[in-house]
């Protein structure tokens, strides 16, 4: 079982003709993802990686009966690409693009509240259901099918934690990189709720980091009676206030909100074991299953 994507998901790549778009489309297809179309204005009628390209997402979605898109469009044009994805008959839009202006994302966020389409990202590695489909740039070989759900604000940290799990034979139902930006589509609570609903997911690993209050909200959600057990990890314990740690979202504000302590404490109060190291996370998952 899985959440959001599986082998039957029919995927459009927005920005398939760009360098990154083409490279990762090939990677997704190689992994077995059902990539059915690309969408790039002015490139309709061409073919990339064996996939037909359309001028608009709507046209691609209708012609190929697609239900998801992955966005590799450069930051200056990415918000428009997201609006386009959200205004097409798709269930899911996964935004890989890094560096989208925050005000653009606030407008996209407003639009999100009006539509049923799910957005994952931006500035995220994507989503993978091991052995079935990956939408994004995650290295497929790290993942293995199993019964652990994973949701993370980070890319490479996800790979690290997953490899600690996989090394012990703890495979994954689905792993979701929700992205490190201040404004994102799917958040921890959304992902936890989906994993809770998935009968195949028997434990969830949640990798948070400093900045914002998403982890605290997730802790609240868990405390209110989430049935699937959760193991946590929080990056940025040593981050000083006021310094942006790479991700635009990873900053401890001067007034002390968004600290690792606050997040670890909140998760702890919700009964979530929080690992000090990725190994400890794997230990806890192993204990739970």
């Amino acid at each position: 079982m899985s959440v959001f994507v599986d082998g039957s998901t029919r995927v459009i790549v927005q920005g398939i003709t760009g360098g990154e778009g083409k490279f990762h489309t090939e990677g997704m297809i190689e992994y077995g993802t059902n990539v059915v179309a690309g969408a790039v204005p002015g490139r309709g009628g061409q073919e990339v990686a064996g996939v037909p390209v359309y001028d608009t997402v709507t046209e691609a979605a209708e012609a190929e009966a697609a239900d998801a898109s992955v966005v590799f469009v450069p930051p200056a044009f990415a918000a428009d690409a997201l609006f386009e994805g959200l205004d097409s008959p798709l269930d899911l839009v996964v935004a890989i693009t890094e560096g989208i202006p925050t005000q653009d994302m606030a407008r996209v966020n407003k639009r999100l509240s009006e539509v049923d389409t799910r957005l994952i990202g931006p500035n995220c590695p994507g989503i993978i259901t091991p052995g079935e489909a990956k939408l994004g740039i995650l290295p497929g070989n790290v993942f293995e099918a199993g019964n652990v759900g994973l949701v993370s604000r980070s890319g490479t940290l996800t790979y690290q934690v997953v490899s600690n799990l996989t090394d012990r034979g703890l495979g994954q139902t689905t792993a979701i990189g929700i992205g490190g930006d201040p404004i994102i589509g799917t958040d921890f609570v959304d992902a936890l709720a989906a994993f809770e609903d998935d009968p195949g997911t028997e434990a969830v690993v949640m990798c948070g980091e400093i900045g914002g209050e998403d982890e605290e909200q997730a802790a609240e959600y868990i405390a209110e009676g989430m049935s699937t057990p959760v193991v946590g990890f929080i990056a940025g314990r040593t981050a000083p206030p006021g310094k942006r740690m790479g991700h635009a979202g990873a900053i401890v504000s001067g007034s002390g909100t968004g600290t690792a302590e606050s997040k670890i404490e909140a998760l702890g109060e919700a009964g979530v074991p929080v690992g000090d190291t990725p190994e400890e996370v794997a230990d806890s998952v192993e204990d739970l299953l």
Binding site: P125, S154, T156, T277, E279
Partner: protein, 381 residues
């Protein structure tokens, strides 16, 4: 990107916001000329990115030419929390009866902008927010519509601003939002917004921080000079295009991906060491980026040992390994011991390629960090 007060005030003034008459000066002589032109009293204000400039001696009031000279002499060239003051803003001092706070920022939790007003201006607003949040009225803004005039009024009346100046303060808030929006700001604040005895409003200070990711469409802001780097190393990181933060420890850290690098820092701390920096080389790992990253950490005199941790997704381990070899082969003597851990895409090939005469290799993140912490301890011992 953080604008200087004088830059923000220029932008505010262009948008029609009321700012005091002022000149920028980088010499004592120019400062005095400016003060004479403006007329006394003037405020002489250090133009550096430091909070609490006033308390730290970076702002002085001058009632006469002599005082202006003395103030400019004491402030120009001074060291203010690590920054050297190269410029002062000489500004007409405002005779105020009240100080307000108005500001616009992104409400990250709500995913939309928020406009704020408080009658407790002139003090650290984050303290007010922490201690008595009810003293700040907030209006969430629908970014598709922008701040409606009625919202500005509701915030202003709700904050208890005097009815005589409420209309003008609401106008300032609306203009500030439009500016925030048009200039891709992350924050735009006036603190204090002074109310004079004849019921005029004046922006006595001005803060404007701009979204780095949006500078591509704000070319005039991008071109503005700033000194937002705390030191030469951070400036260098900016030139190299690295996300870099300098810390106080002695274990230099290089990695890919913000979350993983933060985790590496945390593990250094967990294993008893002290991280010297955060350095994310990002995706890909061409040889020159690897070399630049090593140059960064070696340039930090505090660094005693280095851990280089890559988990390859897009980044390929063999490429990184070649980059490390190339970079280190340039040294007659490698300045500090480098522990390398490669995982993910082509990690095994990378491990084989790595020249173990130049670096130490570890198989897991935990082992690599422990080894680097030990190396640093040995050097310090």
């Amino acid at each position: 990107m953080r604008l200087h007060e004088y830059q923000a005030k220029e932008i505010f003034a262009d948008a029609g916001l009321p700012v005091p008459d002022a000149d920028l000066a980088d010499t004592v002589g120019d400062a005095v000329v400016a003060a004479e032109r403006i007329g006394y009293p003037v405020a002489i204000k250090a133009q550096v990115h430091v909070g609490g400039r006033g308390k730290a001696g970076g702002i002085e009031l001058a009632e006469s030419e002599e005082e202006a000279r003395e103030a400019a002499e004491s402030i120009l060239g001074m060291d203010l929390k690590g920054y050297t003051v190269n410029r002062v803003l000489v500004e007409a001092a405002v005779d105020f009866v009240d100080e307000l706070y108005v500001g616009i920022t992104m409400d990250r939790g709500a995913g939309r902008p928020v406009a704020m007003v408080s009658t407790r201006g002139g003090v650290d607003i984050e303290e007010v927010a922490a201690e008595s949040p009810e003293d700040i009225t907030r209006e969430g803004v629908d970014p598709a519509f922008g701040l409606h005039p009625y919202q500005a009024r509701r915030a202003v009346y709700g904050a208890g601003v005097a009815r005589e100046v409420a209309h003008d303060v609401a106008g300032v808030l609306t203009t500030l939002y439009d500016l925030w929006n048009a200039r891709d700001a992350t924050e735009a604040e006036i603190n204090p917004l002074m109310i004079t005895s004849d019921e005029a409003v004046v922006a006595a200070d001005a803060v404007m921080n701009v979204d780095d990711d949006a500078l591509f469409r704000q070319p005039d802001l991008e071109a503005m000079e700033t000194d937002s780097y705390e030191d030469d190393l951070e400036r260098k990181a900016g030139e190299y295009g690295f996300d870099y933060v300098r810390l106080d420890g002695d274990v230099g850290i290089i990695g890919n991906g913000a979350g993983l690098v933060m985790t590496t820092l945390d593990l250094v701390d967990y294993y008893g060491g002290e991280p010297a920096n955060f350095l994310d080389i990002g995706g890909g790992a061409q040889a020159d980026r690897v070399a630049n990253a090593l140059d960064m950490v070696f340039s930090d005199p505090n660094v005693e040992a280095v851990v280089f941790n890559i988990f390859g997704g897009i980044t390929r381990g063999d490429e990184v390994a070649r980059g490390i070899n190339d970079a280190l082969e340039r040294f007659d003597e490698i300045p500090k011991e480098v522990v390398v851990r490669l995982a993910g895409t082509n990690a095994e090939e990378g491990m084989e390629i790595l020249n173990t005469d130049l670096v130490e290799v570890e198989g897991t993140l935990e082992d690599a960090v422990r080894r680097a912490v030990e190396n640093a301890e040995e050097v310090s011992a």
